[in-house]
């Protein structure tokens, strides 16, 4: 009888210790959580649309979007990429499947009119955006975009990240489309957004 009581008290003590340890762990849990290693891009921005009006990124919410950074004097890779996005969107059978956003990395030459004309060339809705030098610099930073002016005078060109970034309807970064990826891969990624 005495032994049993002792055993029970020990059991209670052990239980209390385990419980306490669990509670302590839980209260410290946030500190123990591993830092997420997956890189993420994006974040809210306010730029300027083709009408010269402020365009807040919250306007994109509710529908997925593909965002691409380029410049209107870019004769090869930029139109090729935008044409491809338009084609992929048609392949998904729905013009409204996702939004296509084009942001210039050349605000010096690309004002609202220039990005607007450029976005209108593709025969399908594309949101063309520009901004002040500091607005563009910030959005480039948030979206992990590199760009660098090459050459001087009016004829300069710009080396820039040619990867398309994909965001879901909650404006969460999902994946990317690289220029050398196949259409099949790109379509699969776009389908996952919706």
């Amino acid at each position: 009888m005495r032994n049993l009581r002792l055993v029970l008290w020990v059991a209670v003590a052990v239980a209390a210790m385990i419980g306490g340890a669990l509670l302590w762990r839980q209260s410290n849990a946030p500190l123990l959580k591993p830092v997420p290693t997956q890189v993420s891009f994006g974040g809210p921005f306010t730029l300027i649309d083709s009408g010269g009006q402020p365009f807040a990124s919250s306007k994109l919410a509710g529908k997925p979007y593909a965002i691409f950074f380029g410049f209107t004097h870019c004769p090869d890779v930029c139109p090729t990429t935008l044409a491809r996005l338009v084609k992929l969107r048609r392949q998904l059978g729905n013009e409204g499947a996702f939004q296509i956003v084009f942001v210039t990395v050349d605000p010096e030459r690309d004002g609202p009119k220039e990005v607007g004309n450029y976005a209108d060339l593709f025969g399908s809705p594309i949101i063309g955006l520009t901004g002040s030098g500091s607005q563009i610099a910030q959005v480039k930073k948030d979206y992990g975009i590199f760009s660098e002016k090459v050459g001087t005078g009016d004829d300069y060109t710009i080396d820039h990240t040619a990867t398309v970034l994909l965001f879901d309807g909650d404006q969460k970064f999902q994946s990317t489309i690289a220029p050398d990826e196949t259409d099949e891969t790109a379509i699969a990624k776009l389908k996952k957004l919706t």
């Binding site: 004769p75 139109p79 491809r84 220039e114 060339l121 090459v150 080396d159 220029p179 050398d180």
Partner: protein, 143 residues
Amino acid sequence: MLRPAAFAIALTLAACSAPGPKISTRDAWARETGSADSAATYVTIENKGGADELVGAKASIGEAMIHESSMDGGVMRMRPVANGEGLSVPSNGKLMLGPGGTHVMIMGLKGPLKAGDHFNLTLLFAKARPHKVDVTVKPAGAK
């Protein structure tokens, strides 16, 4: 430096009656432009003869240069193909200039290119005579 050697080799080959290049082109097109004053032109060059090199181009509507786009860690870079450095048009083969790769860049356009427009492009080769090409302007959404 290599020129005299190449010339000597060319002479030797000529002596063995090496066939000259036989150039033809197809699918020459350019993309419609917006407010930009430059355009990329694409063309497929076929050669049914001996090897040649594309060394330059001239356009009726602006200054033409051969450019190369290349990917470097996700960053797209565009550079002129160095002066005097030709692009190989292999014997009985072809050289394709297409989107996202090598193209003829036309700069200083006097006005925008509209879908349905045509213009002349002359391709310059190391051996073959200059080859005139009729370029069709296609909608921006063309691939």
